[in-house]
Structure formats: structure tokens, C-alpha cells
């Protein structure tokens, strides 16, 4: 988000005679830059935000309960497991690969957690760590098969989809289901723990202040170096918008149970991944590998290491999502991670604007994409429509999102921004 603000600000060094210099002129030129970018196929997060607004409006018209505090509180909690899995999917899509097995890996992780924690009586932290390590090993194994043998990730993870579902059924044994005790920290974290209102508001204020502070520091540094920088007015407006948006959301959710810790955890993961992708050399090399693998290799990027990291991140995040899903359900069973989890996670990443062609997408794609998916699911459930309709609508939205991606890509090519 900070990126786009900086890019759209006109660069003074190239201000020709034709560049307007008045404030209104600058605003106009910025609008023109924005509209050029849109027409050029650089859509960013705009389509998914627009889609979210449309879906919320339609669902609210169909059922007035939809936008109630209670339902939105639930919606926020419900979107976390799939959202976290989707964050991992964003990572593999960015490097131009795919992981079809995130559902199975999340289910297997839930089963491992339940077996170790409940059946074997290990402490929770040990069970969680073991599950995370196993998932990371799965990702590492995928990467080795891909790097050394050269099997396409599509096929490797298709094998993983089946194989790890089998392992999940095997370790759950004939019982097929293990309940997690309600008084355990895992279940209460996923179901019952909400931020006290004062803390939620404090976090909002801190977040807005941090956004302004980092933005202002960046702008000052750029100005010192004689580069174009975002204006103070823009930075203030951005921070105020965040403050108002999040503050309003917290106030609304606090009318019911409030903001769940699990959702805050998800937001924190999104922000960390966003930082890694946009502000570290590792993040840049992920985009580079997804954009042009050969170019990245020749530029000295360790392509195999980047691919390995992406696969490991993906399976590890799938594991986190799977464990949270089991905690929320207070059980791990044969259908954990089954059904539509897999496709919802991938669909969320794509709906959020991550390109299936690699090299394009942000961490926020997972957040917004999963909100779209869960809104559809929650809205249709409220209408008492069964999963048949949910699948059909979600499928339609996914097709729409991918078509938008393909059209945007064609437009980028024809505008020379491929």
C-alpha cells in the first residue's frame, strides 16, 4: 500500500514543462496516473475490495442479520484458518508454483496435534512444535523432489493431496475422530479469547501512528536524498483513514464479543509476510523467481533455496491453519482439511489478486480473498442454503477472479507492462 502511494507520486526530476505544479494539478495528475495504471491492467487490490462491498451489500439485502456485530465477529474468526493457509498459497503462487495439498497437510497437522496432545498426553507446545516440524519437512520434501528431479509442483502436490490424506486417516485410526478438551489453551484461544476493548482501541491507535511514523520517516529520508516522496497531507490522510476504518470495525465488533485473538494473530502474520515480501531481499528474490526464473538465477539469486523456502512456508502455514481449525472445532477428524478447505485457500489467494502466472500478488490478497470467500459462505448459510449452492457461488466467484486476472494480464501486455 505504501508502495503504490510512492509510485503514483510524480517524480520531480522528470517534471517536464508540461507537468502541472499546483496542488489541484498534482491531484489531477495523480488521478490520471491511477486511472492509467488501472486501464493498463495494474489492478492491485481494487477488484477484491469492490467485490467485497458488492457481496456484503447483496447479503445484507437478502438477510439483515448478515452485517450484525454477532455475525461479523463469527465471520472474522471463521476466516482465520483458511486465511492463514491462503497466506502460504500466496507464497508458492508468487514463485510461480502451486500447492494443491494444503488441505491435506492442514488436516494431517490437525490429526498429529490431536494424537500427540490427547492420545499421547504430550504438552500442547510440544505437540504444536512437532506438528509444525512435520509440515515444514513435507514442504522441504516437495522442494527437493521439484529441485532435484524436476517434477512439476502441480503433480508433486497432487500426490501429496492424496498421500497425506491417507496418512491422516491412518494416524487417526479406526476411531476416526479425536476431541480436543475444551479447557485446553488451544481451544480457548481459537474460540473464547477476545481482546479487551481498551487493548483493541490501543492497538488501532498504535497501528495508525506506526503507519504515519514509518511513512513520514521514509518520506523524510527520500526527501533528504532528493527523491520524490509522499506528501505529509497524503500520509496524514492515510493514517486517519486507517484509524477511522479499524476504529469503526473494533467499535462495531465490540458490540458483540469483540475482536478475537485468533484474528489479531492472523493480521500479525499478514503484516509480517507483507514486510518480508516488500522490504527484504528475500521477498524481492521471490518476486524475481516468479517473474523470470532464469534472470533470477543469473543475477545470483539462489533459486532452489527460494523455492524451498516458499514450499516450506506454504506447508508450515497450512499446518498453522489446520491446527487453528481443529482448535476452533475442538476436534480433529477424518474430514479435517477435507472438503472445500483446499480449494477455498487457493481461491482466496487468487480472488485477492495473486496471479496464477507467478510474480504478482501481496500478503493482503490472502486477507481480502478469504473475507470474500467466508462472506459468501456465511451469507448463504444464513439464507439456509446448503453447501450445494455455496460451492456453485464460490466456484462462480473464483472463475470471475481468474478471468479478471487473465484479462488484466492481457491488458498489461498490450500496455507494455507485462
Amino acid at each position: 500500500m505504501t508502495e503504490s502511494a510512492a509510485v503514483t507520486s510524480p517524480e520531480p526530476a522528470h517534471n517536464g514543462a508540461g507537468q502541472p505544479t499546483t496542488w489541484s494539478g498534482r491531484a489531477r495528475s495523480r488521478r490520471r496516473v491511477v486511472s492509467d495504471r488501472l486501464r493498463g491492467g495494474d489492478l492491485g487490490l481494487l477488484p477484491v475490495l469492490a467485490g467485497l462491498v458488492v457481496i456484503w451489500a447483496v447479503m445484507q439485502i437478502l438477510n439483515p442479520v448478515f452485517l450484525s456485530s454477532a455475525n461479523l465477529t463469527n465471520l472474522a474468526l471463521e476466516s482465520v484458518p483458511v486465511g492463514i493457509i491462503s497466506l502460504g498459497v500466496v507464497c508458492v503462487l508468487l514463485v510461480g508454483q502451486i500447492d494443491l495439498s494444503v488441505g491435506s497437510v492442514s488436516g494431517l497437522s490437525a490429526a498429529v496435534l490431536a494424537v500427540l496432545f490427547v492420545d499421547r498426553g504430550l504438552p500442547a507446545w510440544l505437540a504444536v512444535t512437532a506438528s509444525l516440524v512435520l509440515a515444514a519437512l513435507i514442504g522441504w520434501f516437495y522442494a527437493q523432489v521439484h529441485n532435484r528431479i524436476g517434477v512439476p509442483s502441480f503433480v508433486i502436490t497432487l500426490g501429496g493431496l492424496l498421500g497425506f490424506l491417507g496418512v491422516q486417516l491412518w494416524i487417526l485410526g479406526p476411531k476416526g475422530s479425536i476431541n480436543l478438551p475444551f479447557d485446553s489453551g488451544l481451544v480457548s484461544f481459537a474460540q473464547l479469547q477476545f481482546l479487551p476493548p481498551w487493548l483493541a482501541y490501543t492497538l488501532v491507535v498504535v497501528g495508525a501512528a506506526a503507519l504515519y511514523a514509518t511513512g513520514a520517516a521514509r518520506a523524510a529520508e527520500r526527501r533528504r536524498a532528493g527523491l520524490a516522496a509522499a506528501s505529509r497531507r497524503l500520509l496524514v490522510a492515510r493514517s486517519l483513514a486507517l484509524l477511522a476504518g479499524l476504529g469503526g470495525a473494533v467499535w462495531y465488533l465490540n458490540r458483540d464479543r469483540g475482536v478475537g485473538w485468533m484474528f489479531v494473530f492472523f493480521l500479525a502474520l499478514v503484516l509480517v509476510l507483507h514486510y518480508v515480501l516488500s522490504r527484504t531481499s528475500f521477498g524481492k528474490s521471490m518476486y524475481a523467481v516468479g517473474g523470470n526464473m532464469e534472470a533470477a538465477r543469473r543475477a545470483g539469486v539462489n533459486v532452489k533455496a527460494v523455492l524451498t523456502a516458499a514450499f516450506v512456508l506454504c506447508t508450515t502455514l497450512a499446518c498453522v491453519g489446520g491446527m487453528l481449525s481443529a482448535s476452533r472445532l475442538a476436534a480433529a477428524n477424518q474430514s479435517s482439511g477435507g472438503g472445500d478447505v483446499n480449494l477455498n485457500a487457493i481461491a482466496a489467494a487468487v480472488i485477492g489478486g495473486t496471479s496464477l502466472f507467478g510474480g504478482r500478488g501481496t500478503a493482503f490478497a490472502a486477507l481480502l480473498g478469504v473475507l470474500v470467500i467466508q462472506s459468501i459462505s456465511s451469507g448463504l448459510t444464513l439464507l439456509n442454503l446448503d453447501s450445494a449452492y455455496r460451492f456453485m457461488v464460490t466456484g462462480g466467484v473464483l472463475l470471475l477472479a481468474v478471468s479478471l486476472d487473465a484479462v488484466a494480464r492481457r491488458s498489461r501486455v498490450s500496455h507494455g507492462r507485462a
Binding site: 509510485v7 524481492k284 518476486y287 516468479g290 545470483g300 510474480g359 504478482r360 500496455h415 507485462a418
Partner: protein, 269 residues
């Protein structure tokens, strides 16, 4: 610099006893027909292939170049024909790809300042360093690819077909850039098919034919016909005939300007 380089692939001798010299501030054009061994020679220099025989001298001693990384450490930079840029990244990100400053919290300001300074020194016409490379023209991309190698502070830069697939204006842009590289004191080796480009910027022209040296020419004196003859190994073909005809016409025109007496001399020669 290169002495008696030979390289075979199985039974095929790609290079036999090839010599090539380039000194600081000099532009050497490497020309030859398809299959003459130009690319193999470039790959030997850039560390992709190892020569079967011969030595590479660099600076005051001889060196071996077992890998591309070694070549880069020595200061031999290569810009291959496909440029190897990431189109989804912007100019700064491409320039610093693989050598970002301060990896855990990117120093974007310094990288942008240095990118602008570098492109400014090369008088490159890049609209903005924050546009994705996909938005640049072929000549601009070539400039970015060359600028990227300069960040490694090379002594010799090898350009593989830098003007192929470029329009007239963009070709001129890249040729200007090559002049600027030699002004900076770099040795430039340019592989090219285009005789006009070669004669526009090169100091010497090294001709390869069937994997062997087939003449070293002073670019200022050699004619296109001479070069074509050396490349193809034949003095009589369409290109040389036409070049001969053109020269005859030129000379007649010049003679007409100078007067009858000189015209006689021209015909006689």
C-alpha cells in the same frame, strides 16, 4: 588476452587456436557467421564453458575461469542476448537483484539514488526508475541490463548481439552507450552481425570463421566488403558485389566532383 583457445564438443571442434585481445577503453567487435564460434568464445570468457586448450591472460597474469561467478569476480561481465531481466520488477529492483543493500530492511533510498546516478552517467533515457521493466522499450532494457553489470564494477564487458531486434533510434542509443562504456575505461567485446554497427563503434574487428581466427581488422580502415569476405571466406557474393558496385558509384561521383583527371585515376585503380 586470449591465446590459442580451443574447445570441442565431442567430435565437433567449435574453436581452434583462437586469439583475441582487448585492452582498457577499447571496443572489439567479434564477428562471424552462424556457427563460427562467437557464442562459444563468449561462453569461455564468461565461465560457462572451459577451454580444452589455450590460456586466458587478464591483467598481468593468466587466469582460469571455471565458473560464471569467477568471471564476475575477475571483472568480466556478460550481457547475454536475452538480457535476463525480471519484467515484473522495476528498474531499481532489477539493477540490484541479487545484491540488494541491507537485505533485512532494504535501503531503497540509496539503491534508487545510485540507480539514478548510474543511469545518468550513461545518459540513459529511462522515464522513471520505478516503472516495471515491462514498460520499457528494447533499447531501454538493454541499457538497464548493461547498467546492472556496471554495478559489479567490471573491467571487461561482453555484449552479445546488443543491437539485434532493436529499431534505428534504439540502436543509436545503445551504440552511444557502448561509446560511453569505453570512455569509462572498460574493455568492450561486442558480438554482432551488423556491419554498420560494428564499424560505427568498434576500434578493431576480430573475424571468426569455422572456429578459427580469420583476420583482425582496424575498424576505421576495413570496408564492409573486406569484413564480409573474411566472414564468409568468399570474395565474390551478392554483398561484396553490391558493395563493390556502390563503391564504384561513390568513387565515380567523387571523381566527378574532383574533375576529369582524378576520374581517370579512380578508373585506373
Amino acid at each position: 588476452m586470449l591465446r590459442g583457445i580451443s574447445k570441442s564438443f565431442g567430435a565437433v571442434a567449435a574453436l581452434t587456436d583462437v586469439d583475441l585481445d582487448v585492452s582498457a577503453g577499447q571496443v572489439v567487435a567479434l564477428v562471424g557467421d552462424n556457427g563460427a564460434g562467437k557464442s562459444t568464445l563468449v561462453k569461455v570468457l564468461s565461465g560457462v564453458h572451459q577451454p580444452d586448450a589455450g590460456t586466458v591472460g587478464f591483467g598481468h597474469g593468466t587466469v582460469s575461469i571455471p565458473s560464471p561467478a569467477t568471471a564476475q569476480r575477475l571483472g568480466i561481465a556478460t550481457v547475454f542476448q536475452d538480457l535476463a531481466l525480471c519484467e515484473n520488477l522495476n528498474v531499481v529492483e532489477n539493477l540490484f537483484l541479487g545484491r540488494e543493500l541491507r537485505g533485512l530492511r532494504l535501503d531503497e533510498v540509496t539503491m534508487e539514488v545510485r540507480s539514478r546516478a548510474l543511469l545518468g552517467e550513461l545518459s540513459a533515457k529511462i522515464p522513471s526508475v520505478r516503472v516495471p521493466v515491462a514498460a520499457l522499450s528494447g533499447g531501454q532494457r538493454q541499457t538497464v541490463a548493461i547498467a546492472r553489470t556496471l554495478l559489479g564494477d567490471p573491467k571487461v564487458i561482453i555484449l552479445d548481439e546488443p543491437t539485434a531486434a532493436l529499431g534505428v533510434a534504439q540502436t543509436a542509443e545503445v551504440l552511444n552507450l557502448i561509446e560511453r562504456l569505453s570512455e569509462r575505461g572498460l574493455g568492450v567485446i561486442m558480438v554482432s552481425h551488423n556491419m554498420a554497427d560494428v564499424r560505427a563503434v568498434a576500434d578493431t574487428v576480430v573475424v571468426l570463421r569455422l572456429g578459427r581466427n580469420n583476420g583482425v581488422f582496424d575498424a576505421a580502415e576495413a570496408t564492409a566488403a573486406d569484413l564480409v569476405a573474411a566472414i564468409t571466406g568468399a570474395t565474390d557474393n551478392v554483398v561484396s558485389r553490391r558493395a563493390g558496385r556502390d563503391r564504384a558509384v561513390d568513387e565515380r561521383a567523387a571523381a566527378a566532383d574532383r574533375g576529369t583527371e582524378a576520374a581517370h585515376k579512380g578508373d585506373a585503380s
